[in-house]
Amino acid sequence: MNNKNKIKVLYIDDEQNNLVGFKATFRFDYNILIAIDTDQAYNHLKAHPDISVILCDQRMPEITGSIFFEEMKDRYPDPVRMLITGYSDIESVIDAVNKGHIYRYIKKPWTDADIRSAIEEGNKYYISTSMLAVKNKELQAAYDELGKFTYSVTHDLRGPLLSVIGAIDLAKNMDDLTEIRSLLNMMDDAVKKLDEFIRNTHEYYNLKRGKLIFEKIDFNKLMADAASIFNIAGRMDNVHFISKVDQDEDFYSDENSIKIILNNLFSNAFKFQKKNGSEKFVSTNINISNGNAEIIVKDNGIGIDESHINKIFTMFYRATSDEPGSGFGLYNVKDAITRLGGTIKVESALNEGTTFIVSLPSKETEP
């Protein structure tokens, strides 16, 4: 067995012979660390946060095993603590058990089988409690996120809705048809924003909870699909959509995630164009080689201020109020890329444009 997969055990005893004998007996089955005093024990604990079982002799010259456990357990609560002791120390053992300082004790003289079963049992306990701690942490993070999420969702769902209610109220008393039409256009935008937000929420959920399906990706087809959508949007706003795909090899990834990445990058590139810019463009360059896809999306739009650039991937972060946005898009992009094992970089200069560089590995095996 590889040493890495062995159970890591720390044994503390003031007699050198016991340490050597113990290590010799169990080193094939376990990863044994030995300490002749508590200083050495602390050094091991500091250097090896993955120790799962600690065995300590009760009778040592400077400190008893039970007191050592009592002292160390707040700082290193995870390893399972076991005391090795003779019958005469039984009072202190009972005390230590009752105070929760030790998981069990091993009676002297011990047999190899005693130690083995104690380590195996202790390790099972260690794994289940540490898994519980990890799960608790995940749960807390999910709960915190849900709180933040609900706050923003309430705003982003109610906002456009209340705008439309307000607009309807106004329109009731309007007689000028031109004015009513311009109000209708604004209501249209508000409702579309709401719809975009709901779609983004759905994407977010899919990315968080959905299963990745790795299949052959045809970037030419993906770009043709995207072009058919964004060419229309581009023509309306006078933005050229240029794309170049260089794919000579098979590439495997999750198509839904890649669509989410591309769509969000494109819609941002189109959205954040200069109002009166000339020769506006969104250009995409996709290059597949050596099992890696590099996707470069470049625009000559309004760019991102240096002070915001580090925060653009944060959920609900919006760097401008010039255009409506949910603050969801780039968060989802980053999330999708991370799940696919890729990276994203951004280069931008205010008033000059923004370039996103995405790198994704081909995934030929199941996630």
């Binding site: 209340l162 307000g166 008393n173 508000a190 760097a319 109020s321």
Partner: protein, 133 residues
């Protein structure tokens, strides 16, 4: 009161539609001399700093809470640092879609904020508010 004094208005909201609605509702009250909208709180603040206020004129600010870059709370905090000579010429109303209790409580902590208003703004609410001016 007595003689009808006209008021200036500043609307700060990142939603253009909400700005438009507020402008219309404000104009319809007939008490408005001038209304300016800003979709960015930073720009609104710059404008307040650079505008010399005529001594007899009072300006009502309607500010949204959740906005990108500078939110409503940040705006109010920055505004409150401008000094009493500036502050006394303005009255702030917070107008938001928020139903979050923390947001509502937080509004109470700012002395420069007169009241919290729920969106959407309508002429009944605004009319009642302006009856005191």
């Amino acid at each position: 009161m007595g003689n009808i004094k006209k008021l200036n208005f500043i609307v700060i909201d990142d939603s253009k539609l909400d700005c438009f609605i507020a402008e219309k509702v404000i104009t319809n009250t007939g008490k408005c001399d001038d209304v300016v909208s800003f979709v960015s709180a930073e720009q609104a603040l710059e404008s307040i700093i650079s505008t010399e206020q005529a001594p007899h004129l009072h300006t009502i600010i309607l500010v949204d809470i959740q906005m990108p870059v500078m939110n409503g709370f940040q705006f109010i905090e920055a505004f409150e640092k401008l000094g009493t000579d500036v502050i006394r010429n303005y009255t702030i109303f917070v107008i938001s879609s928020s139903i979050n209790e923390n947001d509502l409580k937080r509004v109470d902590n700012y002395t420069s904020v007169k009241q919290f208003l729920n969106k959407p703004l309508n002429s009944n609410v605004l009319g009642a508010l302006l009856s005191q001016y």
